[in-house]
Symmetry: C2
Subunit: 343 residues, 2 copies
DNA sequence: CTGTTAGCGCATTCAT
DNA sequence: ATGAATGCGCTAACAG
């Protein structure tokens, strides 16, 4: 499509060679049932005539598009881009393309996008639910209609019938905070994201339990749940938070790399030395943390691998027999703490 | 597709209502030629039965997919992601979806991806050529076959028949360097990217001519063309560059934000004060520069807008009559210098 | 080994 | 206002 001029099709080749369309189709498919010499003739003619198969017609006929739909909450979050890269790599190696859409942090758009996927453009879907996504009826609907789905990252409610790729956010946070505690810190601040988001809830739990486990007091004042969905405001939110504190933290556990960086920036601005006066840990490990001065210690999340695994699970589903019920798989990937200069 | 279970189709609705497929089709299209009451019956039944149109069948029949193919050199470059966001926004508002692929900085993959687009999945293509793309025969081929194409960013050779969205790299660089000169700097270093890339060539030209125009000597030693395509190595390349210098620069013009940040990091590491001892300017203005301490002065490139404009031009082409020759459009967007703490 | 035929699901032209 | 028939380009079942 998108071709204003008439395209060469199987029929044209068939007519020129005085053979049937079916034979041409088979020949191009390298079907062993067609004579070698015919196959060669066909290939040569196809090349001469500049034949290019019509993917749409193929899809309609075969019932599959070889496209994976990917739905992420936003583009401007390196984590999601990394996951997409992982998906893309695996998909490409298995003859699939990916169609990425953004739900722009909105449940409404998430549903809209899924409907658009449901129209048959994609063979399956990889999805990271938005923070607004409270129930999963829309996903169950799709699954019941036979659409293979893999979820990753922010799964508030398990969806039976969909595979999941996740990390143990609570454990990762626990370890990060424990690391700070073992370094001798006692007034540890927490910078989280929107409360509705499962991953942030879990990271908060990990923080709480690490403190409790080590008998370190929890100061409500030292806890911030950023509400901004916008880069611009996060900045101010964090600055105001630190400016308003009565207790001076000796360490900060931030729930994303970006929060970690903004924290460092703010601390430097108000004259703190990192890590001497305040240690900082981020979450993600997505590049920028390595450039900052000082470099940011953080929980390394295997983003790229999450994508690969998600794609692997989805493609496995796509190859499953139609009438066997899918057995749900949950892959939990390991995180690790990457120590750099900020601690 | 991707639906293992049987889907409801027009025929099913038709049968249930004892009317023809054509009428159902027209009704759902809100064609005024069908009786209001019939239309309502059809809509109701479609809803009850959970009808979802098959996009593939529609595309085959209509000859258009309403998908725009986007081909960028790499995903992990915020600039390209910003452009994609811009494309996506405009496209979405005009009922198009986008299919993003990466050529991974390779001419070979660029061609492969274009072939995959040519198979009819997309109505048109927005492309940023790789640094390896020396000639544009493959693009001319596609255009001759009737595929609408819009190029952006790195256009080494003009392609007649394709629209272009660019900035004036040379002018932007000239102004940035001139800015440094007017601040009194005389030993200005240049950190560029791979020499084969047109945008870097142009930014180098701007640098050269600003120096010449103001009678500032050009020290070859102060010029670095980074060869790394990999984030990991850029770091070392820049560190080694500054460590090896005999002349101590009082300013640095970096061709990307990332180079600018790495430059600042390196300078801080070797004990320089920014901007007092060395001023630094980056190019792009894509976020991280605002977080770093000090924040990075840079040439602001309208990335998002580039995407919007590219999509606008493409969709305009898609709506052009088939037999009128396309008149090539070149949109040159304005850049501006955003002054921050590093200068 | 090759040809004929019948779909895939929808849009559309031509009748009525 | 509605229906019947044809085509979009390709695949696959069946026949020979």
């Amino acid at each position: 499509m998108g071709f204003k001029k008439r395209r060469v099709k199987l029929e044209d080749i068939a007519r020129r060679l005085n053979i049937s369309i079916a034979t041409v189709s088979r020949a191009l498919d390298e079907n062993p049932r067609v004579k070698k010499s015919t196959q060669e003739k066909v290939f040569k003619m196809a090349k001469v005539m500049g034949y290019m198969p019509n993917q749409i017609a193929k899809s309609l006929s075969s019932g599959k598009t070889n496209i994976i739909g990917v739905l992420i909450p936003r583009y401007d979050e390196p984590f999601f881009i990394e996951v997409c890269r992982g998906i893309d790599q695996y998909a490409r190696n298995h003859n699939y393309k990916i169609l990425i859409s953004s739900s722009r942090n909105s449940y409404k758009f998430e549903k809209e996008n899924l409907i658009s996927f449901e129209k048959g453009l994609v063979d399956g879907i990889i999805l990271s639910p938005t923070h607004e996504t409270e129930n999963v009826a829309h996903l169950n609907d799709l699954i019941n209609k036979g659409m293979p789905i893999v979820l990753f990252d922010n799964i508030r409610e398990e969806v039976s019938g969909a595979d999941h790729v996740i990390i143990n956010d609570e454990k990762a946070s626990f370890e990060a905070v424990e690391f700070l505690i073992k370094k001798g810190n006692k007034k540890i601040a927490f910078i989280g994201g929107i409360k509705q988001k499962k991953v942030f809830q879990d990271r908060y739990k990990g923080y709480i339990s690490a403190l409790a486990h080590h008998n370190i007091p929890l100061y409500d004042e030292l806890v911030l749940h950023c509400n901004s969905l916008d880069r611009e405001f996060e900045d101010k939110e964090i600055l105001n938070f630190f400016r308003g504190l009565n207790i001076s933290p000796d360490a900060v556990f931030a729930c994303t790399d970006n929060y970690g960086l903004l924290t460092m920036k703010t601390l430097l601005k108000i004259g703190k030395k990192i890590p001497d006066e305040v240690a900082v840990i981020g979450f993600g490990d997505l590049g920028p943390g390595e450039i900052f001065v000082p470099t940011l210690t953080c929980v390394s999340q295997p983003s790229f691998e999450m994508g690969q695994k998600a794609a692997e699970l989805l493609i496995k589903q796509l190859n499953e027999s139609e009438d066997i019920d899918h057995i749900k798989t949950i892959i939990k990937l390991e995180t690790k703490l990457t120590e750099r200069e900020s601690t």
